[in-house]
Symmetry: C2
Subunit: 236 residues, 2 copies
DNA sequence: CGGAGTCTTGACTCCAATCAACAGCGGTGG
DNA sequence: CCACCGCTGTTGATTGGAGTCAAGACTCCG
């Protein structure tokens, strides 16, 4: 049996029906302001843990569930016209994947865990059914939708323009680290490249250059960095 | 007095309270499935016409209204870290600008008409008030939100990656023209550049090259093109 | 007419893609 | 145990494509 808290790569552990009423994270998640009684009915919520590289859903599949991220990191990937794939968004704790299940048919992206990730999987059907009864839920969903849009805009303006140095600096500063923090997960060079629309080699070189300048330091899968130095590079 | 149907540049014409019940476009717009009686109450809807270059709202302003596009073309612009500005989305008939007015505080973008544009301006407050009563409206809003997200993803994967030729080809084929059509509005080179994250000069050269190859033709502010030829270029 | 704004074209530079080789690491299996 | 393999990351040499700078053409309007 796999270790439940740290599943191996590509593994998915189903951990049973969730009991949202006792959820320790509820106030930060989708059902924050929903009254307890709403959680009894049609709503199907399952807890799951996905190991790194495990796939939540594939682009084009019928969208039946949405996923609320409790902990970890998930990438949404879309195939580009030339065959390569681009990371369109990263989802952290509190974010929701698969919102398209509420409006229509099929998933737009492939969702894959980057870190071991704890999720709640919610059946779209049940959610739609109670959505109309509880306006708090509609409000909360709109917040998530807006959040997704903000993230998308960030990718457009921050991560798809300017020099390689600028993009790498901005992804570390704004996308991957908490505001004010000076460290963040060290994504693989491939993921950084797919997120920044650069090649692996360019990302590798750029990070190496930052290390040489003493602005960035990497150990045990974590980047530590000098916010001031990166900030200067970010305007390039 | 300005000609109402073709206002001059930067001009804004307020055309009074709208009567949605007799709206010829209603079925394609936000209130498509809303019962007539819902339109009587708190809802404030005004018809407006914006000339080219007229600004609907500015980034950072308090978001009080949302705008439903009846006809025309609007760009959403965001300032990039280096000071230049990037077009993050284009809005056509049926699209909605300023959805952020429903979730929180301030506009994320500057919205500016590219073509003379007919709009309905809807007070966010009134909409929020009736949103909870009419689930059809929530549904319709979710559709628009999803639509915005799809557009954003399109900008990320189609318009921010690959060679200049590929990007220009894709913007003409997929973003600016109706599916199956072989013509579209000829945006200014600046707007194309801001949308594709290229320089004006590169866009100009690329379009010129397409013209030389005979796959694009420009007259009276319209591009005519060979779908097959552009399709080949789009995979670059 | 002149002027502002838009578009085009040329010459040059430079940054990132490409192609290629190799190092390090963990895992697998003989 | 070690040899081998796949995966990730690094580095170098070279190329190509887009950015930059600059000049000039064109159009629309006052």
């Amino acid at each position: 049996m796999t270790n439940r808290s740290h599943p191996r790569c590509r593994e998915i552990n189903w951990q049973g029906q969730a009991n949202c009423k006792v959820c320790t994270l509820r106030k930060g998640l989708l059902f924050a302001r929903l009254p307890d009684e709403a959680l009894d009915g049609l709503l199907s919520v399952e807890r799951m843990v996905h190991g790194a590289k495990a796939v939540l859903y594939q682009e084009g599949e019928p969208a039946l569930h949405l996923y609320s991220v409790r902990e970890g990191l998930v990438k949404l990937v879309q195939r580009a016209p030339n065959g390569s794939s681009r990371i369109v968004r990263l989802l952290k704790s509190g974010d929701v994947a698969g919102l398209e299940s509420l409006s229509d048919g099929r998933y737009r992206h492939t969702a894959e865990a980057i870190l071991p990730t704890h999720l709640c999987r919610i059946a779209a059907e049940g959610l739609s059914a109670i959505r109309h009864r509880y306006s708090e839920l509609s409000d909360e969903l709109m917040q998530r939708w807006q959040q997704s849009l903000d993230r998308a805009d960030e990718v457009i303006t921050q991560l798809s323009t300017g020099t390689a140095q600028g993009r790498v600096a901005r992804v570390l500063l704004y996308t991957l680290s908490e505001p004010g923090s000076n460290r963040c997960v060290a994504l693989t060079r491939d993921d950084l490249a797919a997120l920044l629309s650069l090649t692996v080699e360019t990302v590798s070189r750029t990070v190496a250059e930052f290390k040489r300048q003493g602005i960035v330091n990497e150990e045990h899968g974590v980047f530590h960095f000098d916010r001031l130095g990166l900030g200067r590079a970010a305007t390039l």
